[in-house]
Structures are given as C-alpha cells and as structure tokens.
C-alpha cells in the first residue's frame, strides 16, 4: 500500500462558520495503480490531494505513506518525501515562468542536489519522453497549454517518484490535448509502475482508471467496476 488514510478530516474556518473540506476519508491506494478521484468543483478533491501529498496537515485522522504515519514526521522530513517520492501535476501547470522547459524539469533534480551533468541528461531524457525534445529552451509563455502540461509531467517525474498526484491535469486543455495527457499519465503508470492519482471531473479519465473514487462534500466513496 503506498497511501492509506484513516478518518482523514480537514476543516477550514471561514469567518464564523467551519467548512469541512474532507470528511473522515478512508482510502487505500495500491502501488502501480491508476486512481481517479472524481467530483464536482468544491467537493474537496484538491484538499484531499494536498493532504495525501503532504502539502497540508489534517485537522484529524492520519495519512500513511508507505505504511509510515506521516503525522509523526517533521516538516523537513515531509519536504524530503515530497521532493524524492511524490510528483505533482497542477491544473494550471505551475511552471516557473522565468525558466526554460529544460530548467523547469531540472529544478527538482537541482533541489535534490543531483550533479549538473546527470541533472541535464535526465531532464533532456524526460522531455524527450513526453515528446518535447524540440522545446528544451522554450519558456512557458512560448509553449502551448498541452506542451506546458507535458513539461509539468516531465518535472513531476524528475526524481523518479513512486507517486504522482495530478490535480485536474486536463482542466485547462482542449479535449484532444487532454486525451493525450491522460494517455501519457496512463503509460507512465503502466511502464514505470508509478502510482498515479488524478483528481478530475473528466469522465474519460475516470473510465481509464483502475480504481475510481467519487467525492462529494468531502466524503468519498469507491465506485465499483
């Protein structure tokens, strides 16, 4: 089991009221599976991904990463896991605008203190793998949205993570490009045995997944089939 949650709850205080974004979620994600979490906007998908990705702390409940209770980890240890074991793909790509595609992919490698030469070789190899061999020196604003998301995927793979968390990866893309991205994520899961968790409301993604969860008002249910 790569990720397990127990009674995972996250509430936010909004003025006088308390909003429960994630409500007692119990989730088990196995290695090398393609998991989709489907739900409408505001249902708690992003919050759940942030909790699983150790970007956020639960109000109550626990997240186990590779059977390790993450509530016992220091912030430094959580960062280390984020850097070395988890890859993030955001809806709006979140590429650093001043860096080229190559440099954006190199970034996690540089943060992991990989020497410059292997860093560059790995980044080039990843960009070639996502079909962007001819876009290495392009800045994000010089790329199409599909290309930007490919760079973001390449970046998420830089440190060979065992888990990729993708938050609405097709949300900003047209239908055809979105389909390409899904195929890419699926192939990563199959070829490299990487676990991919996708938060989406795109039914095509849900259909392609091994396991589908539905989330509504912070509560999750596993769909059969």
């Amino acid at each position: 089991m790569i990720v397990k949650t127990r009674e995972l709850t996250r509430t936010y205080r909004l003025g006088a009221s308390v909003i429960t974004a994630v409500n007692k979620v119990n989730l088990e994600i196995k290695e090398a599976t393609f998991v989709s979490i489907v739900g409408p906007s505001g249902s708690g998908k992003t919050t759940l991904l942030n909790l699983i990705g150790l970007n956020d702390h639960p109000t109550s409940g626990k997240v186990f990463f590779k059977n390790e209770d993450t509530s016992l980890l220091t912030n430094k240890e959580r960062r280390k896991i984020r850097l070395q074991s988890i890859g993030f793909v955001f809806q709006t790509f979140n590429l650093l605008p001043t860096l080229t595609a190559l440099e954006n992919v190199e970034l996690p490698l540089a943060l992991a203190k990989i020497p410059l030469k292997p860093q560059r070789e790995k980044a080039i190899q990843l960009l070639e793998a996502v079909g962007l061999a001819d876009r290495l020196q392009h800045r994000p604003k010089e790329l199409s949205t599909g290309e930007m998301q490919r760079v973001a995927i390449a970046r998420s793979l830089a440190n060979n993570p065992c888990l990729i968390l993708a938050d609405e990866p097709t949300g900003e893309l047209d239908s055809e490009t979105g389909y390409e991205i899904i195929k890419l994520l699926l192939s990563l899961c199959r070829k490299h045995k990487t676990t991919v968790v996708v938060a989406t409301h795109d039914e095509r993604v849900a259909k392609a997944s091994d396991v589908k969860y539905s989330i509504r008002d912070g509560m999750i249910t596993q769909d059969s089939g």
Partner: protein, 389 residues
Amino acid sequence: MCLRNLLRRRFRTSLCIFGVCLATIFIVAIGATTTNYTTVIRDMNVFFGGDVVVVAEGAMVIQAFPVVGGNLPVSVVEKVQQVNGVKTAVPMLVQFGYQFEAVIQLAPTNVSVGIPPGNWSVLVGHTPLNPGGDWPSPDPGKKEVVIGSSLAKQYDLTVGSKVKTENTNLTVAGILDTRSALLSRSIILPLELAQHLYYGHTMWIGNMVVAQPEEGVTEKEVADRIEAEILGVEALTTHERNEIVEPLLHDIETWNNGISGVLYLLSMVLVITVAMMNVSERRRDFATLDAIGAPKGAIFRMVLTETMLIGLLGGLSGIVLGSIAAILIASIYTNIPLSMFFFDLFNIVSPLFMMKILASTVAVSCVAGVIPAIAASKMNIPEVLRSEY
C-alpha cells in the same frame, strides 16, 4: 535565476535599482565632500603644532588661520617677542584668494601667505621645492613667489613663469613638492611684498603672529601671558584652535551620518516594497517550489539574493555616478578643472570609502530582503494553490 526573476519585471526592478542608485549617489557625493572638507580643515591644524597663534581680537579663525578680519599693527610682533617664554615671533599675512590668473571663483581656491624671508619653514616645515626651484628673493621688488604643486599643475606653471594676482605680475621662483591640501594651493611670498599687494602699505604686519615657546614653557603659559600683556589680541594654543573648529566638524559629520542614515532607510523601504510586491505576485511560484519539496532555506536565499542584486547594482552604479558628482562638486567649489580631479579620483573618493558604501548598500538591501524572504518561505501552500481554482 534570480537575475531572470528580477528582469521579469524590468521596469519595476529598474526603478528600484535607480532609487537605490540615487540614494547612493547622494551618500557618496555628500560623504566624499564632507570627508574632504573636514580632512582639509583638520589638515590645517597640522600647521604651527606646538606654537601659539596670535590674532586680533574678534578675528574669525579656522584652525591655524584667520579667515576673516583682524589686521595687526607692526608693534604687535615686537610685543609678542618680548613676552617672557617666547622664543621667536613670526608675523604672517594670510589671504584666502578668490582670484588667480584673472579667474574669479565663489569659494577660496588658493591661499597667499606672506612670511619674513628665511622663516619659510615655520609654515612649510620640511616640505621641499621641486628641483630647479628656489625660495623667493627677500627683495620685494623682484616680486618672486613659491607656489603649490596643484596650482602649478592646473595653470601649467614652471619656475620662471609669470602669474598675475591682485593685478600684479609675479615670478614663480619655486614649486612646493607637496600633497597637503593647503600648501598645494598656496602662494608663498615675502611678507613685505604681501603687505604691498594686499594692503598697499606696510603699516599692518599681517593678520597673525606665530609665537614659538621657549623650551620648558608650555603653549598655555605663553598664550596666557600674551593675552595678559597685549591688549586687543587673542593667543590660541593648538588645543584651543582645535576646540574652535571641532564642534563644527562634529556637527558636519553628524549631519552627514544623519543624511546617509535617512537615505539608507529610504533605500531599505524601497527595496522592501518592491520585494514584497514581487513575492506577492509570485506566490504561486513559491508555493509550487514548496510543493515540490524545495527547502525553506532555498526559497529564503532566492529572495535575499534578488534584493542583494538590487543593492549591488544600485550601489555600484551609485558609486560611479556619486564619485563623478563628488569631483564635479569639488571642481565647482574650487574652480579646479574636472580633468585634474579624474587623475585624483581616489583621493576625493577613496577606494576604502567606495567599498564601505557598497558593503553598506548591499547589507541594507539584504536586511530589506529578510521580511519578503520570510514571507516567501512561510507561504501556506494549500491556501495559495487552492486560491487558483
């Protein structure tokens, strides 16, 4: 990467660098000018160290030299000489000049000193003359003078050259080999010639008498006796001369430090404002870096490096322009051509002063970067990322 981040907002970054540069220009120009001014004033008290300077009561004295008023009658020299404990009494006529070679300027740029021939060392000490030169003839009719090296350089004068001052042609007999601010701009001439030039007669001996105490007698004792025995004069010891001007110099330095402090503070506020704007605009970038596991220290250093670069670029350009401004001020103030100062730049604005200013500017920018750097490194990732959707 930091430089690219700054260049992303070119106009804003340029404005910020310009602001830091402008502050640095003022700090350098005002600092160098006041430092030179105070150094020259302090340098003036090197003269007649250990001697008592006698001036007319009410004369305005800056360090060892009366600058305004106070002519002394001939009889004063004899009276001073007769005071118990006085070894020698040398009269002098000191005239700060506003005109040389028919060029008139607003501030004094040269000083004429009339001294009885043979007593030159009372003023110049062991300062030598350039080879080929000699001290002026005691005969006032020959109208010979010795001039300082800076004047000689500025007006391209050599031994035998003619100079015109007070509508009189004088012959350069020698050139002083000195870097002293006062001596290098001096015209030293026999006292009698000076009396004719500046008074038109010899009824006044000049405006000061330098009294050297005998061995075993203190300056204070001599000064007290002179003031007790001779009416209408003031006798100033080295300490008293310093006391007259030190509060003024202290005030000038305090004002300079105050102005520099305010300018540094303004630079800091400017850098903080711009850096906070940058951090606020790049919240998503910092949250992304945080999300992919960048250490807090790396984000902190990135912002700090950016503000440091602003300080470095602003400081460097400010020092260059400030140095030009400083020599421009010095040139206007002294009427010495700008070209002469370019060769002497490091005397006007010393490399140590430049390094200090650069270090201070960079340090101020780094301090200014701390708050934005903390803001960037303590970003709440889920909140920032959630606000996107």
